[in-house]
Each structure stands twice: as structure tokens, then as C-alpha cells.
């Protein structure tokens, strides 16, 4: 059966969304584009359609809820609760609620298939893995889809799933693993900032000013995506090919765990401190209420609606008036905490405080140590100053900016970012950047992914990309061992920058000896700046900026046809599948069978 729909899914840190294009009713740039209303339990026993599915899983105690409390139209007794009710219950019982599974999925310091969430669950509580939590969200989306489209099973549609541009190969692989387990078949992955640009492009279809009128040859587009939990940057250049505009993603930023949730929490703590200074106490439940209140108040204040918004923190008991605490959030506080704390006007040579990546054993999310988005952005643009051949400045000069993510709906924040970028450009003698407007910052990623699914099958607009990193395997050098010193390590390039979908990297000449039947581990490195290294290149020294270490990788040669503990010389070859998935393979000297190398090895 052929597909009837092109489907885009935004698997977000805090929310998921699904958008789809009806293929029968769409042609060329005329699209029948919709967003799925997702049935979900909103309160025990009550099911409602909502356009977003909160990315929360709640694992109830067997006695906690009555039998039909979690019933869905397609399943009377689901094992876990997903969506609005999960978030609501988690507000009062955090130890049974899994949130931010996506951030855990990209945390190479933990076992992502191990049952570790919720981290602070009571001892007798079932825990699930980050992969399983993601599977739950995706399964809910699939079942919601199939409930509303019983004739169009999801696995038979063209499905695109988005991931942060900064996701490393293992995080992408785990996302696919979750999708397979959720019954998706083999979806295609797309980077979120690219999805945001696709959404912007598709939005201009049929308007007086199409995207081809708004973009011009030589444009350098900076996509800034500030979501609930992550900050993601990408740069897309506009070139020309065969007389048409040619879009190419030339750089992506580091993985930064920082987002709107951090801002609301920071505001809530500010208000809490003010309340405590007057002798009042606030419990955890009230603090969570305060976080909610601060989110709404922040939006009002940043929209310029007033200079102060009263906040009421209700008590938990049934005495509403008697037990409530009154506070207020002022424009001055929001400006100080959010604008100056998260978006300070810094010079372009500002460096973010860095978290060393070595803290791999700590069981907690590696949140960004520096909360300033602008400092991370400055570092990104500086590091990518060589991304374009024509570039002359001290950093990569954007000519246009596309904003995405709920946080940037606040005009004061997007203007602050734009002002800061403008100041950097003018200090460097570059022309100012313009904003690409008109995007729906909440749904853009799902919509853009839907368009990409459609474009892949209809010869629509495509952004070219390929790998945004080069990859290296750590090889111990053959220097004589010195007691007490780790043997020096060299980095062997296995995958070059820009390797495209469907491409095989060249085989590096170096051979590694693998012992049959025994897992062998390698350290794995990546670089977002070394654009010219070819497979086979050996680096014996590099600066901390150039290479960063990912989790270990592991190769196991099966014993078939070989003697156990035989040493087989192999070469490592990278490729990117047609679906955009990075693979590393062990190729034995004698040709023969090729083995996959595990991109995430656990001790």
C-alpha cells in the first residue's frame, strides 16, 4: 500500500506535536497541511484532544488510580500515562514522573537503554529507560494517529522525526530505536533548525513574497532555536545551482541543555526569595505553582502589557483565600533575570563558562553551566568563522536570522538577540542581519518536518547538509609505555565533514586488530570545525576547542567462520544511510562480511 500522508513529528523535550500533509489533496506548492489533535487523558477518566502532547510519562502506583482513570479511546488499560495527566500528576508526585527524556537520550554518560528514570523514584517503583520513555510518547502519537486515520497505518506513511541538530550519532540512533519500538517502521530523521526553515519556506508558498523573493544568493541564515529544554543553532547558506537557489546547512552548534524551563525556574526562585525575606515559607508544590505563574507573568511583562503582574500562590488545602500567598513579578525582575541573565549583551569574543565533559559518571543531566544564550551563540559563530570560504570577519556573519521555539515569541527576547547580533556585526564592519518573520514558533518544527517528508517524495525544496562534524577514533600510539602515564592517544579520522546521505566514506589505510568474539572499545571524538580532514588522517595533538569526546564505541566480531581469539585486521569505514543515519562499520582485510560498530558502548 502506498502512503497517503507525509507526516512530521516534533519529539520535543517538553512537548510533542504531529503535522501532516494529505498527499491526494496537495500538489507542488499547494499543500493540504494540518496539525493532529492528539487525544490524551487530561484528568483521571477524562480524555480530550489537544494539539500538543506534553512529553511526560507517569508510572502510577497500583493503588493510586481507579481502573478506568487512564483509559484511552484505543486502549482501556494503558500501562503508563502519557501527556497532560502525566504532567499534572507529576507536579504532585515527581518521583513517579519521567520528564526531559530527550535530554537523557543525548546524555552519553548514562545507560540510555537502562531503567534509570525517574532518577529520584522510590525504591519499589518501576523505572524506565530514556529510550522507553521516548517510545511511549511516539507510541501514543502513533495510536492517536491510527485512531483518527484507521485506514492509514503510520508505518506505511512517509514519516519524518526531528532531532536537535546537536544530537550526536548515538543519540540519533537511540531516537530511531525508540521509533522502531513504537511501531514506526523506519522514519527519516531531520534536524530541528532545518525543520524550522522548511516551515518558514512552506509558509511563504502562495503568498505575494515567496521564499525565493525573500532570500538571495549569498545569504547566511542563522537559525536560533530556544525551546523548553534546549538551545540549538544552525547556519544555512544560500547558494546557486542550475539557476535556482541552493540551501546548504553548513554548521551546527554544540548540545546545550538550557531553555525556557530554566528561565521560569529562575524567576520563581527570585519571587520565592522575596517571599521568604518577608518571613513566609514556600513548599515544593507551591514553588511549582509559582513556576507556572511566572511563565505567564513573564510573557505578559515581556509583551509590554504592564510593569508589574500580581502572582498568587494558592495553598494546597481547600482554603483558597486564607492560605494563599501574594507576590508580584515586576518588569524590572524579568529584565534582570531573563534578559540580563540569559540574554546579556556581550561582545562577540565572550566565552561561556564550560562544563568539562569528563563528568560522565554523575547521574544527572549535564545542564549548561553558563546560562547566557548570547555567550553560547558568540562562541558558536566564532568557532564557525571558517565555515564559508568567502568569510573574512572574526566570526561567521549572518545576513538573516530565523527564530524558533516558544521562548522567542517574547518580542523583548528576540529583539535583544537581534540587537546583540547587530552589535557584533557592526563592530566587525559587517552589514546588519534581518529577521525572517511570520513563523509559528510553537508548531513550526512539526510542520517543517511534514513538509520535508513531502519534499523528499515530490522533488520539493531541499536543504543539503551531510554530516556537520568530522569523526575520529582514538588509537593508542605505539610509544614505549611510561609507568604512571597514560599512553598518548592519537585521533584517526574515519568520517569527513559533509558526508552526505547515501555516501560511503573512503576507507582509511590504517588497520586495527580486532579479537574475534571479544568486544573491543575505542574512544570516539568529533569536531565541528576541522572541515578538511580526510579519512586516514592521524592527529597527534589538537586543541580542546577542536575535538570533543563522545561516549565510547564498541566493535565485536562474531566468531562464525573464525577461530575464537583470532586477531582480524579491519579498517573502520563510515557511511550515512539513505535515511540520514550515521553508521560505522568494521571492514576486514579479506573483504567478506562487514560488521556494525556500536556507537554507544556501556561498561
Amino acid at each position: 500500500m502506498s502512503a497517503s500522508y507525509a507526516i512530521g513529528i516534533d519529539l520535543g523535550t517538553t512537548h510533542c506535536a504531529l503535522a501532516y500533509i494529505d498527499l491526494d489533496l496537495s500538489e507542488g506548492e499547494s499543500l493540504a497541511h494540518h496539525t493532529l489533535d492528539i487525544p490524551q487523558v487530561v484528568s483521571p477518566g477524562e480524555v480530550e484532544d489537544k494539539s500538543l502532547l506534553p512529553s511526560f510519562v507517569y508510572l502510577p502506583h497500583p493503588d493510586e488510580l481507579s481502573a478506568g482513570a487512564g483509559a484511552l479511546p484505543w486502549n482501556p488499560t494503558p500501562a503508563a500515562i502519557v501527556g497532560t495527566l502525566a504532567r499534572r500528576l507529576g507536579g504532585k508526585t515527581p518521583g513517579r514522573c519521567v520528564s526531559s527524556a530527550k535530554s537523557w537520550l543525548s546524555h552519553s554518560g548514562v545507560d540510555r537503554t537502562g531503567a534509570i528514570l525517574p532518577v529520584d523514584a522510590p525504591d519499589d517503583t518501576r523505572r524506565i529507560s530514556p529510550v522507553e520513555a521516548s517510545t511511549q510518547y511516539l507510541k501514543h502519537l502513533r495510536e492517536a494517529w491510527e485512531h483518527k486515520h484507521p485506514d492509514a497505518p503510520l508505518a506505511e506513511q512517509r514519516v519524518v522525526l526531528t532531532v536537535p541538530a546537536s544530537f550526536d550519532p548515538s543519540a540519533r540512533e537511540f531516537t530511531l530505536e525508540a521509533a522502531r519500538a513504537a511501531g514506526f517502521g523506519e522514519p527519516v530523521l531531520l534536524e530541528e533548525p532545518q525543520a524550522a526553515l522548511y516551515a518558514w519556506i512552506a509558509n511563504t508558498f502562495g503568498s505575494d513574497e515567496g521564499w525565493r523573493d525573500q532570500l538571495k544568493l549569498g545569504d547566511v541564515l542563522l537559525v536560533v532555536d530556544v525551546g523548553g529544554g534546549t538551545v540549538d543553532f544552525s547556519v544555512i547558506s544560500v547558494g546557486e545551482k542550475d539557476g535556482g537557489l541552493w540551501l546548504e546547512r553548513v554548521a551546527v552548534g554544540e548540545h546545550i541543555l538550557l531553555g525556557g524551563d530554566n528561565m521560569d525556574l529562575a524567576l520563581a526562585h527570585t519571587v520565592k526569595a522575596a517571599l521568604e525575606a518577608t518571613g513566609k515559607t514556600i513548599d515544593d508544590w507551591q514553588l511549582r505553582g509559582l513556576v507556572h505563574g511566572c511563565r505567564d507573568a513573564k510573557e505578559q511583562l515581556l509583551a509590554g502589557e504592564s510593569t508589574s503582574v500580581p502572582l498568587v500562590v494558592p495553598s494546597r488545602g481547600s482554603k483558597l483565600i486564607g492560605g494563599s500567598l501574594r507576590a508580584e513579578l515586576t518588569l524590572e525582575q524579568v529584565t534582570r533575570v531573563v534578559l540580563e541573565g540569559f540574554f546579556p549583551k556581550v561582545p562577540v569574543d565572550a566565552a561561556p563558562a564550560t562544563t568539562p565533559r569528563s563528568a560522565l559518571t554523575a547521574l544527572g543531566l549535564p545542564y549548561a553551566r553558563d546560562a547566557a544564550v548570547t555567550r553560547h551563540l558568540a562562541a558558536f559563530l566564532r568557532r564557525q568563522s571558517g565555515a564559508l570560504e568567502s568569510e573574512e570577519g572574526t566570526f561567521l556573519w549572518p545576513t538573516a536570522v530565523l527564530f524558533n521555539g516558544g521562548v522567542l515569541k517574547a518580542k523583548a527576547i528576540s529583539e535583544r538577540l537581534l540587537d546583540t547580533i547587530g552589535a557584533w556585526l557592526s563592530a566587525d564592519g559587517a552589514p546588519p542581519a534581518r529577521v525572517l518573520g511570520g513563523a509559528d514558533l510553537d508548531r513550526a518544527v512539526a510542520r517543517g518536518a511534514g513538509y520535508y517528508a513531502y519534499a523528499r517524495m515530490t522533488d520539493g525544496v531541499r536543504i543539503r547538509g551531510g554530516l556537520a562534524h568530522a569523526y575520529y577514533v582514538g588509537v593508542e600510539s605505539s610509544a614505549p609505555a611510561v609507568p604512571g602515564l597514560e599512553p598518548p592517544i592519537q585521533a584517526l579520522c574515519v568520517a569527513p565533514f559533509g558526508l552526505e546521505e547515501g555516501d560511503l566514506a573512503e576507507l582509511p589505510p590504517q588497520e586495527l586488530g580486532l579479537v574475534v568474539g571479544e568486544p573491543v572499545r575505542f574512544r570516539f571524538f568529533t569536531s565541528s570545525v576541522r572541515r578538511d580532514d580526510r579519512p586516514g588522517q592521524m592527529l597527534s595533538r589538537w586543541s580542546e576547542d577542536e575535538l570533543s569526546e563522545l561516549g565510547q564505541i564498541e566493535a565485536t566480531l562474531p566468531t562464525e567462520g573464525r577461530a575464537p581469539s583470532e586477531v582480524v585486521p579491519v579498517r573502520l569505514r563510515a557511511r550515512v544511510t539513505e535515511l540520514g543515519v550515521f553508521r560505522l562499520e568494521a571492514v576486514p582485510r579479506d573483504g567478506g562480511h562487514v560488521w556494525n560498530v556500536e556507537l554507544d558502548a556501556r561498561q
Partner: protein, 181 residues
């Protein structure tokens, strides 16, 4: 007013029915004050009179539970407000307003019945729907009626409440909460 009384033949028919049907007799007895309709022609079937039924309570309780959940509405109504200052009540009302309004707007789409501004003079044409427009004050004369719009009215153009599972007890507006240490 002869027209108000049953005709001779109709009365004969009535008498027979009363004689032979206990049920019809009961009906006649139970409505002594109502003048019987006076069909001059052959009796036509009388449409069943509107029955005042018990309003179904499930959706109402569901809405009340939603207002309690989002805006602590029941807590607010059930609290004794006499002991508190206007400032305290106002602060709580803000919370109630914010939450209930959000819940209301998510589930029920409202629009004014009358599109003109309140205070403007309006004309009510003949054949208007009395359930949509209520005439008040010096109600006399014939349509078109001229007057001042005192209240625009509200009507629901869309109402979507969450679906309920079969065994959901709508009488529990908010469960008691027991926090385990």
C-alpha cells in the same frame, strides 16, 4: 365563549374515551384547570405538552470539576469570605478568574448574541426569537420594537468537553489528597 368548550360531538367522544379508558380519565382529572382545546373540526392529535425533565447532571458536574481543577472555583465559593479583606479576596479571585477563564475558553466558545454595543439604540424586528432576545421594561405595542441594548447576551457557538470513561464518577469534583512523607 363557545369556542373554549368542546363541541357536542367531541364531548360524546370524550365521554366514551373516559368510560373505556382509565388512563384518559386520569389525564382529564389531573388537568382540571386547563380549558380543553376546541377543535371545531375532527379532533387532531394534540402534540405532547413540553415536559420539564431533570437536567442531565454529568456534563454540569464535569464542568464544575474542571473549574475547580483549573481555578479552584468550588474552594472559592465554599469559603467563608466575610473574614477576609477585599484585597485578600481580590487576590484569590484573580487566581479563580485566570484558571476558570482558561478552562472556559478551551472548552466553550462564546459570542455575544447581539453584535451592537451596549447602550446603543436597537430595533427588534417582528419574528425575533424570544429565547435570543428578551424585551424588558415597557413591553407594549407591536414589532418592530425600538429600545436600548442593555446587555448583549451570550451564546455558545461551540462546546467540547472531554470524553469520560464509563466508570468515571462525576460526583467527585476533586479527590481528597493525602501526601505521603
Amino acid at each position: 365563549m363557545s369556542a373554549a368548550h368542546p363541541s357536542f360531538f367531541a364531548r360524546i367522544g370524550l365521554a366514551f374515551r373516559v368510560l373505556f379508558s382509565g388512563e384518559a380519565a386520569a389525564r382529564v382529572v389531573s388537568r382540571p384547570a386547563l380549558p380543553a382545546p376546541a377543535p371545531e373540526r375532527a379532533p387532531t392529535p394534540v402534540p405532547p405538552p413540553p415536559v420539564v425533565e431533570r437536567a442531565p447532571s454529568d456534563a454540569a458536574l464535569q464542568l464544575l470539576a474542571m473549574f475547580q481543577r483549573e481555578g479552584r472555583f468550588v474552594d472559592f465559593l465554599e469559603e467563608d469570605v466575610s473574614a477576609y479583606s477585599d484585597g485578600d479576596i481580590g487576590a484569590a479571585a484573580r487566581k479563580v478568574h485566570e484558571g476558570c477563564r482558561k478552562a472556559l475558553r478551551e472548552h466553550i466558545e462564546l459570542e455575544p448574541v447581539h453584535t451592537q454595543e451596549e447602550g446603543e439604540s436597537v430595533t427588534v424586528e417582528a419574528g425575533f426569537d424570544p429565547s435570543e432576545i428578551r424585551l424588558t421594561g415597557n413591553v407594549s405595542g407591536e414589532a418592530p420594537f425600538k429600545g436600548e441594548l442593555a446587555h448583549r447576551g451570550w451564546k455558545v457557538v461551540r462546546c467540547e468537553l472531554p470524553k469520560l470513561s464509563n466508570d468515571h464518577d462525576v460526583h467527585i469534583l476533586a479527590p481528597a489528597e493525602v501526601e505521603l512523607a
